[in-house]
Symmetry: C2
Amino acid sequence: MSNDKKVERITDMEKDFAQWFTDVCIQAELVDYSGIKGFFIMRPYGYAIWENIQNVLDKKFKEGGHENVSMPVLIPESLLQKEKDHVEGFAPECAWVTHGGDEELPERLCVRPTSETLFCDHWSHVLHSWRDLPMLYNQWCSVLRWEKTTRPFLRGREFLWQEGHTLHATEEEAREETLKQLDVYADLCENYLAMPVIKGNKTDKEKFAGAVNTYTIECMMHDKKALQSGTSHFFGDGFARQFDITFTDRDNKQKYPFQTSWGLSTRVIGGIIMTHGDNNGLVLPPKIAPVQVIVVPVAQHKEGVLEKAQALYEELKALGIRAKIDTSDNSLGWKCAQYEMKGVPLRVEIGPKDIENGSCMAVRRDNREKTSVSLSELETEIPRLLDAVQKGLYDKAKNNLDKNIRPAYSLEEAKELQENYGGFVKTMWCGDLKCELDMKEKAGMSSRCIPFKQENLGETCACCGKKAKHMIYWGVAY
Amino acid sequence: MSNDKKVERITDMEKDFAQWFTDVCIQAELVDYSGIKGFFIMRPYGYAIWENIQNVLDKKFKEGGHENVSMPVLIPESLLQKEKDHVEGFAPECAWVTHGGDEELPERLCVRPTSETLFCDHWSHVLHSWRDLPMLYNQWCSVLRWEKTTRPFLRGREFLWQEGHTLHATEEEAREETLKQLDVYADLCENYLAMPVIKGNKTDKEKFAGAVNTYTIECMMHDKKALQSGTSHFFGDGFARQFDITFTDRDNKQKYPFQTSWGLSTRVIGGIIMTHGDNNGLVLPPKIAPVQVIVVPVAQHKEGVLEKAQALYEELKALGIRAKIDTSDNSLGWKCAQYEMKGVPLRVEIGPKDIENGSCMAVRRDNREKTSVSLSELETEIPRLLDAVQKGLYDKAKNNLDKNIRPAYSLEEAKELQENYGGFVKTMWCGDLKCELDMKEKAGMSSRCIPFKQENLGETCACCGKKAKHMIYWGVAY
C-alpha cells in the first residue's frame, strides 16, 4: 500500500520569524492548540524534550540536596495578599476559582501563578529549629498566568516549570544558594541545550515581585532577540517576616530565616527552537533530543535491507543511543523531510550499496554533512558525530551571540544599533529607573541584565550623562 | 549541645483506626494540611514514596510503548458536557474558574477532574489514518474533585495521579490494553507495594462515568476494609462518536476508534500505610522506601564509632542501597523511635562492641528481629534482609486478605459476617441493581468487584434467590 503523505512546507524564517516559529511547533508535532486561548497541549514529542530537561535538572537538584514536594494548585486570596509587592505583581494575572460543585466559595481561590505564598505558609507550620535548616525544596508543576498575548512555549496562560524554594539560617548561605542554582541553569543551557548564556542581575524594575535580587540567564535567539531563560531570586527575610516563619537558632534566639526561589520553564523549549531551528524545521541538540538517531532503510523492498537496518538499529540501542527506525511504507523523501522537520540530530541511511561496503551513511541535521561510517566502527563514530552536532550547534549560537553585542555611548547610538542590527546593546548606566524607561520608550529596548562580567566602557551613563554605576545589556525581548 | 526532642506517641490503631491513620500521616512527615480543606501538601518524605511509585510505573508504561503528554489543567464547560454520562458523573464535583485577571470569562472553565474530554478533543484534531494508531498516551498530573469529606491520601479535593488514555483501531485491541494496564497496576501493588490484590469487573453501578467496562484491583486494609487501588476502563467507541474522532482504515473506510483510560493515584500511599503500618508508625516495603536502611551509630562520642558508621554508610550506598546515616546529637532512643515512625525497613546500629566483633546489628522494622551482620558480608546480607522484609510484609497482608473473605448464602448471613468479622463477603449474584442496593442498605456493603477468578457457590443469588450470574465480592470500602 503506497502512502502519498507530504511534509508540509513551513514559512521561511527570513520572511516571517513568528510564523516560522509557530509552523515548527505544529509541524514538528511539539504542541497542539486546545479549546482555550493560551493553553497548549504538549504532544509526546514535545513532552519528551521536557522530560529530558527534567531528568538533567532533577538529578542536579538532588545532588545538591534538594527534595521534591507537591503543593496545592489553589491559593486562597488572603494568603496571596500577605506580601504586598508579590500580590501586586501577580493578582492581575490570576485565574480565580469561585465555585466548588454547586456552592459559591466563601473566599476566592487563585490557580497558582507561582507558589512562594504556599511554601511560606507550610514553613510557618514545620520550621522549629536550626536543625531543620536549610530546607531545600523543589516542585515540578504547571502554573497559570492570565496573559493577553500568547504563543506556544514562549507565553502561555498555563506553562510547565519547576520552582525551587529554599530557606536558610543565614543571608550568606541563601545568597550562595541563589547563585548556585543560577549556575545549574547556565550549565543546563550551555552544556545540554547548546545555548550560550549571559549571567547577570536584573534591574529593580525587572526583578521578581517581592524579591531583593533577581538573577537571570539571557540567551540570544536566531532573530537576535533576547530570551530570559531562567531566573533565581534572593528574598532576604521579607516573606519570612510577613508569614511569621521563625526558628530557634544555636544561640537559643528566635530568628527569621532567609529565602530563595528559582524557576525554569518549558519556555526554554521555545529557546531551543529559536536558537537552532532552520527553514527545514526543528534542530535538536543531541543531549536532549528524544530521538538522537533515526535509521532509514534505502530501497527497503530489496532483499536483506530491512534485516540489516534492523540489526543496525538494535546495535545503536544497545550502545545506549536513543535510536528509532522507520520501516513504514512512506517514501524515502518523506522520511528524510519528516525527520529533518523533527530535528533529529543524525539520520543514518542504509541501502544495498552500503551493505555491500559494510557501511552506512550518516547525515548530520545541522549542516547536512554526510559521513560514510563502517558498520564495525558504529560504537565510536556515531557518538563522535553526535558530539560534533552538539558542539556545532553551540559554536554557531555562541558566534551569533558574540557578534551581535555592540557597545553604545549614547541613547541615540543605542537606538541606531538596535534599528540597524538588532541584538544586544551594552552601555554604561547610572542605575536610575528614568534612564531605563527612556531606553524603552526611545530605543524600544528593555534592560536584559547587569552582567556579572563587567566591562568599563566609560565613566558616564549613556542615557543621562551622570556618573555610571554599571555596564548593562539592553535588547528587545520575548 | 543536647537535644531533648521527643517522638510524639500516636493513637493505637485498635482504639481509633482513623485517628491512627491521620497521626501516622503527620508524624511520619508525609503530609501537612494546607489552608484549604481537602488540599494536602506532600512533604519530601511522602513525595519521595510517590516518586518511587512513578519510577516503577513510568518505566512499565514506556516499555509498553506509551508516551507522556501534558494536557491543559482547565476544561471548558461545553467540552465536559459532550458525553452525557461523563458530565453527570463529574460536574457535581467540579471546581469552576469564572474570572481571568479582572475579567469575567464568557464560559466557565472547570479544573480537570479527569481528562477524557481533553484527550478526545485533541485526538479529533490529530488522528487521520490507521497508521496513527494505536495512540498510547499517559499524563502525570493532579486533578480536583470537590468532595465533602476529605482525608490525606484517601480522599482529597486535589490528588496526584497518572491517567493513561489510549486509542485503538479495533475493539479487541482496546480490550486487551484495558486488561494489560490492570495487570501493570496489580504487578505494582503485589511486587513493589507488597499489597495483594483481587482483580475483577466493577458492576454497572460502580463503573466509571461513561465507561462500558471498569476493571479494578481491590486491596484489604489492616482494619479489613476495602481500598480500590487502581482502575482501568474500556470505553468502546462512545466518546469517539460524541467527539467525532475518526480515522481512515486500511480498507479506506472512515471508522471510529476504540478507547481506554486507566488511573492510579496517591491513594495507594494511603493503602501502603493501612496495609503495613503498626502502632509504632509507618512500615514501608523496601522496594519503594525512600530510605531502605538507616545507619545509627551507638555511643557515637566514643573514638572510631563515627568513622566506622560513616564507612558502613558509604559502603551501603556504593551497593546501590538507598541508605542514610543519622549522626545528629539526638539521643539513640529518639533516633530509633523516629525511624520506626517513618517506616524505614532496616535500622543498622554500629557501636564499640560491634566494631570489636567486625559486625553491625540489623533490626527489621516489620518484626523487630535483630541480626548480627558481619561487615564483610554486607553485600549479601543487607539485600537478603531487605528481601525478607518485603516478603514478610506481603505474606502478612496476603494472610490478612485470605482469612477475611467469607462466603455467604443469604443477605442476612452476609450482614452477620460483616458485623462479626468485617472483611469481604463473597456471594452469588443475579446481576440486578436492586440486589446491589439491598446489600448496601441492609448490610452496609458495596460491591467491590466480580472477580476474574470465579467460584461456584451455588446457583442462586444470595439476595433475591433468582438465578445467579456471577460470584461477587462485597465489603465496606474507603
